[in-house]
Subunit: 376 residues, 2 copies
Amino acid sequence: MKKRNVAGQFAAGPRGWLYFDANSIGAMPKIAPRRMAKLLAEWQALRRRGWSESDWLDAPRRLGDKLAPVIGAKKGSVIVGDSTSVNLHKALAMAAGLRRGRRVIVSEAGTFPTDLYVAQQVARRYRCRLVLVKDPSELDAAIDRRTAVVYLSHTDYRTGHRHDLRAVTRRAHARGALTVWDLSHSAGAVATDLASGDADFAVGCGYKYLCGGPGAPGYLYVAPRLQARVEPAFQGWFGHAEPMAFEPRFRAARGIQRHAVGTPAVAGNVLFEAALDVFTRVNPAELFRKHAALSQLLISLVPEELILASPSDPHRRGGFVAFRHRQAEALVEELQARRVVASVRKPNIVRFGLSPLYHRETDVRELARRLHAMLD
Amino acid sequence: MKKRNVAGQFAAGPRGWLYFDANSIGAMPKIAPRRMAKLLAEWQALRRRGWSESDWLDAPRRLGDKLAPVIGAKKGSVIVGDSTSVNLHKALAMAAGLRRGRRVIVSEAGTFPTDLYVAQQVARRYRCRLVLVKDPSELDAAIDRRTAVVYLSHTDYRTGHRHDLRAVTRRAHARGALTVWDLSHSAGAVATDLASGDADFAVGCGYKYLCGGPGAPGYLYVAPRLQARVEPAFQGWFGHAEPMAFEPRFRAARGIQRHAVGTPAVAGNVLFEAALDVFTRVNPAELFRKHAALSQLLISLVPEELILASPSDPHRRGGFVAFRHRQAEALVEELQARRVVASVRKPNIVRFGLSPLYHRETDVRELARRLHAMLD
């Protein structure tokens, strides 16, 4: 029986503070310090062989399997490790490599900058043109028979607009293109439907709604149907079929493991796993329903000076709700003085990141109360 | 005044155990748990803005500057982050890119497997032939005008043979080639002379003699004279000149920062910095002299059944001393039963990794005593 409420699994912040910056870093699971203490004790005591006798080396796949249901993926299709940006390089290079001969990568002009930097470089390397649409509505027309890859942030980091992954993927596939999704502003808060939506590749970061801790490792999803066809973008020790056989020639591991590269980031994995173990106690579908309810409540309660910048349909929104305000920066500073943490994106966007793991209705009501008190 | 002895800065392992596996994971600095507790408290309390108000984002360069004197580099030429394997991809791709048109990468058949896997892939991408010498003595003849890059493990992971970085680099440069060095089995134990030896690129791992903890981040060195000429191998957010300006086009940061890619691995950096702060208390040259003395002592004391596989000149050895023994595997297991941790590399190599930070003469004498007791 899955529990409905796991808010108690997270460490409380300073008294009286409201934290709505889950889009920047999610809260700390209470168990995290104990898990870390165990790791440090192992390190100290490893007058035995640390690498061979611990569960450190299995972590990338083990964490991937724990993460899979949260992002709508099947076991064996997700591997945890490397930064989001490095995973973007892997995913986009592999997708472009599978569609060699096609000459266009389609993305959005307003996508997250690091995604653009990766796209600019991979496009040069594969002699592709990068076509950037200004608005999601232009996407359909931009995808055609020349398109190699459709490369999108699942949720826009400014407006909170969430793409219909299934519909975009269907369109891309119908025209022979592949899809790469950056789930950073969605995963852990809203449904991402990787398997049911037939996505090809996806990546994301571990430290936002997934609560994996500061600078947590990122992750990579490769659709099972592509796993045997695609060579790893970066060959490395831990993507080898037998890393401990020290073979001179690279032989890719089966399945998702081949996309591992170097030694796992053990400390980062320990913290991330503490959070993933909270996720395994909840039903993802219920969690996403709770997120939708909290965000609808917030929208219904904020003062009218805050103009909704996100879509009004919760199925078209990602992890945060964005509002426009003429003095967004001043507003967020003033909120901080009132012990509310939110975030701003220039010129006029205020974002409230909602975590369905630990935010409660009462937090949202208190946020609205403070907003009203401030703007009155 | 630099201290001579910092052994007390490291946490003691289980009583009676001798740990000579520094080549696998170095010991834990005593301060590490306190530093980690501080990070976790910050995470919990970050009902303030974690990223903008912490020192997390500066860590890659700050740690790089602390590491620089340990590996013979100048400040501003080392960046900490990503795994060793990902850094190998960066370094080799950049070096090959700077020597486009040349068609050969020279390495060693017996170099560490992950280095070979990276070399095989980068060679394919740059249409280079990979020439693998069987013995360091063949290196000179293998480097010629077709050579783009000489790509070597500074210390061989089986024999402990350490290349003469300065001489190899001089030879490579004389023939117009660049050098890429993997310092993993040297850094923190012996001199690596990057700046004085005029190396072009180097990488290494943080968790062996550098004591950065399980799966600590790796690092990348780029010679200052090349920094302005070379574009980053993987464009990413944190290699941008102004990461927080969210510019749509990539503009490389000045200097070594351009080689950062994604969000720093904060937890891994905190542990690594605890170790680097111990290194800043010692004089590297003295440390390396101590290492040479300890390893000479070990060689002089071991039973004659152990045949030295490493060079007899300490300047030609890396962080560990390797011996051949017909029953290497059984010997290492039997040592473990006698509370000595060493490591084996098939078929017949026994390795003892010596850390000049925390190993004392008395540890080496006790190791020799147990070896004699065992083999008598």
